[in-house]
């Protein structure tokens, strides 16, 4: 038997409290993040049972899904949203959980603030009632989204019951072409695997592309793991990881740091360890990507045409329904399609690096008059960096404004809704029907593609604009 262990095995196995014969494992959870939407019923559940939160120090609450992205200093207008926010605050206070509400300097999207404050650590198990919890896998943690019943389990017992997923390694070798970002790498992989291609698996990303990638980029890739059906994705911790984690508020110090480092360094997958499935891609094949349909697997290189129904896997009727919703036709080129909205933000691309990329392309240009642009930082810390680094003045000069942090148009629970029939180039993670507002049409893309669309008013290859710069 192969005794070589994978990164995933090491972290998982060391968190199993009990293995149930023919059943799931009882998995201990190190870090639990909660937000206002998926937690109220869970808190209600433990109240009804008459029990307390077992480890309040391991749970962290932030308000993000429902929050407005302008005038955050004013009371929230929508009564239902205001009620959910109040419940989160009350529940956090009642059970002794740290709570970063609206206006708090640490407030932001749950998957952006976790890493920023060192809550996210290598080798940890991290859960949250939000499927993009997979983001934290960038640090070599096992991180995944859970349902509200499971949120209740974690509050009550710091454990959940999970059947161990199968393992998959996705290698991307070589170096990325100019204009190709981590978002494109992820959209490319999903387009190859489809949205269900990794269902039942936990993914490890390996290869030169991920070694070369910044922590921000790794987070973008791991974030999108769920969009290929995977439970989560992870990347082996290395010097970059340790450098990022060091010195943050919840990061261990002194002796505890040394101990943690010894554990973290022992985590990477051993040479010769086996995966249930292994796939390798070549970085040179990846172009800036854009989606044309209503799931994240419906993506193509920006210079390609929309595939013919017969050429795609799955039901032809479902495919045609999707194109009909988007009002696109088979064979259409995406380039030059007019767009109405641009959304830069979300836990996928709402970090400082994303704003740097976006700004680099709009610098010295002007926002197209037909475009409404929502630039939403992932957290106050990102917002502050945008200002401190001087990006804000460049953005302002180019006709853009910055909004306040939150999930915003990623899921359109607040007022940031794309109107029916309108097209939005979005750096978020889902292009489902109505995701960004009833009837909205979403084109998922990188911050560079979003920037190119924002200044030209249509789908544009960012490399064309970059070429002008270097010419």
């Amino acid at each position: 038997m192969n005794t070589k262990k994978t990164l995933f095995d090491k972290v998982w196995d060391s968190h199993v409290v009990q293995h149930i014969e023919n059943g799931p494992d009882v998995l201990f959870i190190d870090r639990h993040m909660v937000h206002e939407v998926t937690s109220p019923v869970a808190f209600l559940g433990i109240k009804n049972r008459g029990i307390k939160v077992l480890h309040p120090e391991k749970t962290f609450a932030t308000a993000d899904h429902n929050t407005p992205t302008i005038n955050q200093h004013l009371p929230v207008e929508d009564p239902l949203s205001a009620n959910q926010l109040r419940m989160l605050e009350e529940n956090s206070n009642e059970f002794g959980i740290s709570y970063w509400g609206l206006g708090h300097e640490k407030n932001g999207i749950v998957h952006v603030v976790g890493p920023e404050y060192g809550i996210t650590q290598p080798g940890a198990t991290i859960v949250c009632g939000d499927s993009h919890t997979s983001t934290h896998g960038a640090f070599g943690a096992i991180a995944f989204g859970i349902g509200t019943s499971e949120v209740e389990m974690v509050l009550a017992t710091q454990c959940i019951m999970q059947t161990k997923p199968k393992s998959m390694r996705i290698n991307v070798e070589g170096s990325l072409n100019k204009g190709v970002t981590p978002k494109d790498v992820a959209l490319y992989i999903i387009s190859q695997l489809t949205t269900s291609g990794a269902t039942g698996y936990f993914v490890e990303y390996a290869g030169q592309v991920f070694r070369d990638m910044t922590m921000e980029g790794r987070m973008t890739v791991c974030n999108l793991s769920i969009e290929m059906g995977a439970r989560g994705g992870m990347i082996a911790p290395d010097e970059k990881t340790f450098e990022y984690v060091k010195g943050r508020e919840f990061t261990p110090t002194g002796e505890a740091w040394d101990k943690a480092m010894a554990y973290w360094k022992s985590l990477p997958t051993e040479e010769g360890a086996e995966f249930d499935k292994e796939i390798t891609f070549n970085a040179a094949d990846i172009e800036p990507m854009i989606t044309y349909g209503t799931n994240p697997g419906m993506g193509i290189g920006i210079t390609h045409g929309i595939p013919q129904a017969e050429a795609v896997e799955g039901g032809v009727a479902t495919y045609k329904k999707s194109l009909q919703y988007m009002n696109f036709s088979e064979g259409d080129s995406m380039m030059g399609k007019p767009i109405d909205f641009v959304f830069l933000g979300s836990c996928t691309n709402g970090r400082i690096e994303d704003f740097r990329l976006f700004t680099s392309l709009v610098k010295g240009r002007q926002k197209a008059p037909n475009v409404t642009a929502w630039l939403v930082p992932g957290s106050h810390r990102v917002e502050k960096a945008i200002k401190d680094e001087g990006l804000l003045s460049i953005l302002n000069e180019a006709g853009f404004e910055l909004r306040e942090p939150g999930c915003s148009a990623c899921l359109a629970m607040n007022d940031d809704k794309v109107p029916a029939g309108k097209y939005a180039v979005s750096t978020s993670n889902r292009n489902f029907e109505g995701r960004q507002g009833p009837g909205s049409r979403t084109l998922l893309a990188s911050p560079l593609v979003a920037a190119a669309a924002a200044v030209t008013g249509k789908v544009t290859d960012p490399r064309d604009l970059m070429e002008l710069e270097t010419a």
């Binding site: 939407v37 998926t38 559940g45 959910q84 943690a260």
Partner: protein, 198 residues
């Protein structure tokens, strides 16, 4: 909160032969603002079911009185997308106790099991047979037996077995939930927690 027991369900079924039905279709995000688990059935498939002015879309299956029953039959990759348990609550609250598909997204499947909705995964061929049976007779009856782990098309007697792990099966048969189990092994959890560095 313990939930309804599930044993044998005999019912007609509602067909939704669409692939990749995501949780944003099952329940759009704007309906997730409740702080109690109530009333989500009204907004099940909201944007497929109603026009923006609130009138019913006549051609959507839930608005067609020909179809009814406690079994929802969906196309491949049912429940992809977000972790919102609200999607499973909406399915349950509307009155479904069983969802059949040839493939389920992970989190949705887990969420269903956690609230007492049985996800039944069948082969693509059998799914097709189910759709055909409903097409032939909208009132066609199906038997879902959890003890036997089978689903049967009653008119033809054709049957297929499905997987469920023994632990979850016992839970559903008895209406227990995971928290009951976890609370019972609290001492073991506390001992384990004492050794954790974080």
């Amino acid at each position: 909160m313990a939930y309804d027991k599930f044993n044998i369900l005999k019912s007609s079924a509602v067909p939704l032969p669409i692939e990749n039905v995501d949780t944003d279709q099952i329940i759009p995000a704007r309906f997730l603002k409740a702080t109690e688990r109530k009333g989500f059935g009204d907004n099940l498939f909201r944007d497929w079911r109603y026009n923006s002015d609130g009138t019913e879309k006549k051609d959507f299956v839930l608005n067609n009185p020909t179809y009814s029953g406690r079994i929802l039959v969906g196309g491949k990759n049912f429940g992809s997308g977000s972790s919102r348990e609200h999607a499973a609550w909406a399915v349950y609250d509307y009155g479904f106790r069983c969802v059949v598909s040839s493939f389920f997204a992970d989190i949705f499947r887990n969420n269903c099991l956690n609230i007492g909705v049985l996800p039944v995964q069948v082969s693509a061929e059998f799914l097709d047979k189910i759709f055909k049976a409903i097409e032939a007779d909208p009132k066609a009856s199906f038997e879902v037996s959890l003890p036997e782990q089978t689903i049967t098309i009653e008119s033809t007697g054709e049957s297929e077995s499905f997987d469920i792990n023994a632990y979850k099966k016992a839970n559903m048969l008895n209406g227990f939930d995971d928290i009951d189990y976890l609370l019972n092994i609290q001492d073991e959890i506390k001992e384990f927690a004492a050794d954790r560095p974080l």
